[in-house]
């Protein structure tokens, strides 16, 4: 029965594996920074040079940007745009869908090229997709961890007293 949006969770092992993949990608592509954002706008992780902007706000706008472009794609008869590219004078960003659940955002400058970033991104997306498929197929409480909020009703009540 549909209720609402499903919940998802990831463990420290998942987190380690994701970060390792992204670090490898940054090394190979010479990009500055990579961010993973879920489709509802929550920041999953940031790897590489620490962004000097508000990463939470950035994640929200990224998800909105991607969703808006998905709808634009549908209007012109495409199912989606699986990558988006925004070019600036010095900084550029490439966004790509991962497993229809998360968005990989790569920030890069003129120390590399769009072609190289795009090329290296393909393999990373394949690897991340496999990883996230496994994470999502486990569901919320099957992440090898007990549901953190199980039987926490009293504590939740106290939080809002």
């Amino acid at each position: 029965m549909p209720v609402g949006a499903t919940s998802w969770s990831f463990t420290e092992d998942d987190f380690g594996a994701i970060n390792q993949l992204l670090q490898r990608f940054l090394y190979d592509s010479n990009a500055r920074c990579a961010l993973l954002v879920d489709r509802s706008g929550q920041l999953v992780t940031t790897v590489g040079e620490r962004p000097n902007f508000d990463a939470t706000a950035f994640a929200t706008l990224t998800a909105a940007d991607f969703s808006a472009n998905d709808q634009l794609a549908k209007l012109i008869g495409e199912t989606d745009f699986n990558t988006l590219f925004h070019q600036g004078e010095r900084e550029s960003m490439l966004l790509a869908d991962v497993a229809r659940r998360v968005i990989l955002v790569v920030l890069f400058d003129n120390r590399t090229t769009l072609g190289l970033v795009r090329l290296k991104m393909r393999q990373t997306i394949d690897d991340l997709s496999k990883l996230f498929d496994a994470v999502f197929s486990r569901g919320q409480s099957g992440a090898g961890q007990p549901n953190v909020l199980a039987d926490a009703d009293d504590e939740i009540d106290r939080l809002f007293q």
């Binding site: 998802w8 509802s40 706008g41 706000a57 998800a63 709808q71 953190v148 926490a152 939740i156 939080l159």
Partner: protein
Amino acid sequence: MSMINYASREINCKIVYYGPGLGGKTTNLEHVYGKVSPSTRGKLISLATETERTLFFDFLPVDLGTIRGFKTRFHLYTVPGQVYYNASRKLILKGVDGIVFVADSQMERMEANQESMQNLYDNMAEYGYDLTKMPFVIQYNKRDLPNAAPVRDLQAQLNPGWEVTDGARQRVVPDPYHAGENLVEQIPSGEWVERATYFEGVAVSGDGVFDTLKAVSKLVLKSLA
């Protein structure tokens, strides 16, 4: 779509403020932004037109405390209320964990409220979400205005309740926020109905803003428990 991050020990949830144009959704967020300590909130992002009408959304992240060692982070969004912006309004509902419907209490806005409520049900259904089974709170805003409709009328029009068919849930549930009223009860025709929790508010002065936010956040966390 709530996200539990065991590495950074955070629970992230998304709450959307929905309702007709100029009803006070953005004002709710601005009040929260103004009152919460800067250390527990992020920037207020507004994608608005030059006349300050919300074009895409407003966004405010707030931390509401710690449970079982996990920080609870709530991402608050508003949608553009104007009918014209339905395509972008629908996008904001993606992955929502809890809804606040901000109704404009003024009598002449009743139709706009009803239209927006119907639009909310329709947009949620398109995502496969069932509003009657998820955290949902209504705020009757602008209670200070002389032309505000009585709460009884607003309740009858916007929150008449949905039928409870599950026998196990057919028992009276008192409304914790309004003495003498029930959230689940049997109506004279014999049907059992459930209504959403409601609050009266004056968002410009902050009345009811935190009561609404606390109630919906609590419902969201309990839905995860």
